[in-house]
Structure formats: structure tokens, C-alpha cells
Amino acid sequence: MVSDMFEKTKTKRFIYPTKGVCPPEIHFKITDGTLEEIRFVGGGCPGNAQLVARLLKGKPIEEVLKYLVGIDCRNGTSCPDQLAAAVSATENGRLKPAESFRVHTDPSAGQRIGLIGALEGNIAVLEKLIEGMHAGGVETIYCLGNQTGNSADNHRLIQKLRKQKIYALQGENDWCYAQGQENESMPPLEQKERDWLLQLPQVLSFQMQTKKGIAFFGDYIQRLPDYSDFEPFALEMNMVCGLTDFMQDETVFPALEAMIPQFQADIIVFSQLKKWGNWRIAGKDFISLGPAWDANRLSWGQLEVADEEIEFKIMKAETEGG
């Protein structure tokens, strides 16, 4: 595996957790021994960072290292110095290529988990949902994306999500914002908000009793440039998104059943369809989240442990609007 690190014929993507500088991560690619797509994520001086990225694009790493190393900005290091450390770490094998999609594990083992479908920038709905969920004894809340949408409140929604102890997952809109490729009709966001969206997990792994669950938005993850069919949970996503069309094609359920013994997860939750659904096949639970609001009604999903079994419920509450 380590020898792969030095293979210079294939693009590899890296995410480096920085030390002592403003941006917590540096994302970059190495293709044929040259640097590409450098991005200082989550803070720092965006103008300078973009200049560094442009100047270094396509440059051989052995050529650029001498210019980067040893520059001091704060704490005896700097963004260029951290980039040098990152590149060196790829060379000595301490930094391995990034996973093809970002998986986060919720370390707590929840007894009652609240699941929110696409919020699409609707902060009023989020606030009412949080209120309703807490009143109902929900311990942990997962928002499955899209967090952003064609809404002037995207910014406020992001602020709210950041303040609350809520697991927010990246949806397709959020990914587009993170890449600066959002639809023209979508309102602009500041760079730091785009960076926050970029850093959101694309898959959340969680534990309930003895069951392992995963939550994700939908099939845009399969279209990510570095997506691998063989990473953990890719099989579950390929079966849900590609084989069964988000469980809408029941004719292929026999094939799904044949593949299920290879699954790592027991509970698979997704939200792209914006349509409620719950299927239990060969002991696995497949859950499609519906819209967070519809007409004058708020909806969320609730997973809970009851009599040592996992139960899924669709919760609804009347509201005056959202």
C-alpha cells in the first residue's frame, strides 16, 4: 500500500489536518508528482490562499517545497509551511490518500435519534423541529442535507446548525456551494460558509444497540470524482441509489437480498427522494426521509430502541407555516 503513495501515474487526493494556522485543513491533489487543486479550508486569508493555489498548480512537488518550507506567520509556522509539511507527509507515507467520500462516526450510542430531511435553508422549520424533537425526548439529531437551497436564509441556517449540537450531513446543494458551482438562482454564500459545507460528512455512521447505521443524502456521492465502489458503505449506497432507485423498484429486491450479506450496516437512511418510506429486507432497515415540512405540517423521522428492537416512526406536528 505504501508503495502506492509514490506511484506517479494516478491522481491522489489528500486532506491534511493543519497545526498552528487558521485553516484547519488543506485539501490538495497530486498527479504525476505535481500539485493540483490546493485549497486551504475553513479559515485564513482567502486571497493569499487562492494566490498560493494558483501559483503552485501543476508545479512538481520537489520544485515547490523549497519555497514553502520555513515561512513563519504564527506559532512558528504558516499556511505555506503547513502545505510543505503536508506534501512531505505524502512522500514519507504519514499522510495517506483521503477516502473517496467523507465518513464521520457518531461516537455516542443513541437510544432515540431524530432524523431531518432536506431543510433547504428554512431556518424557521429547523427551529420548530428542534423544539418538537427535544420535547419528544430525542437525544441526537441528524440533518441529512440538503441544508442549503434556494433560500435567502441559507446563511442563518448554517449559523444555527453550527451553534446547535446537530450532526449535519452534506447534500448535493451543499456540495455545489462548497465547489462554487451552485445554481445561478441560489443566493451567494461567504467563503467560510462554503468551507463549512465542504467539511460536512457525506456519510454518517452510528450505532444503536447492536445495530450499525449509516445516513447519507443521495446519489451525488457516487458521482464524486474520486468515488470508489470498495470503500466502507459504498456497497450500501450502490445498492440503494443504483440498484433499487432508492427502494422504488421492488422488482430488484431479490437481487438486493442476495447482496445484503455483504453489508456492513444494518440501518440505511437516505433523504434524496423527499418521500417517506421504510422497508425491512433480510433483517436490514432501509429508511427514506420525507420533506421536513409540507403544507402546514412538520415531519421528522425517529429511530428508537424499543424492547431491544429498533423502531422507526414518522413524527408529524402541525404548524402555522415555515
Binding site: 465502489d229 450502490n238 445498492m239 443504483g242 430488484v252 447482496m259
Partner: protein
Amino acid sequence: MAESVKVLPQDIQEIIEVREWDMRTREGVQRFRELKAKSLPSVALDGDLVYEALIPMQEELIDEIRRRYKEKNRNE
């Protein structure tokens, strides 16, 4: 399923080309959908889904391959 194809007699091996799709991959799933298959394992001959959810007896598979081969080469 692939094993049952690999052990076909040499004269059959010479007239066929075998391609196996991995159902764990997006490519495999796409091919499965194109063939309008429903179950696993599935075998398609010349792009036609012929066996689904079962492994045919070797003789049955050989007969079907020969039949198709003859049909394709009838005018040659």
C-alpha cells in the same frame, strides 16, 4: 456462476467470450439494470437474459450456447 462457465469444455470456451460484472460496483449495477435482471446470479447470452437466480446444469448451458452459435452462423 463464473465457475460454472470456466469449467465448460474447451470447444465451447473457443466459441464464447465471457464477461463477468461485479454487482458491488456501479458498472455492474448498470449492466444488471440494462439487462432488466431481477435476481442473482444471472446469466445473459448475446445480451439476452437467459438464466436468473439459478445456475443452469452444464449440459443445459452448453446446449443453449450451441443453439445460439448455430443460429448465428446459419448463413455462413
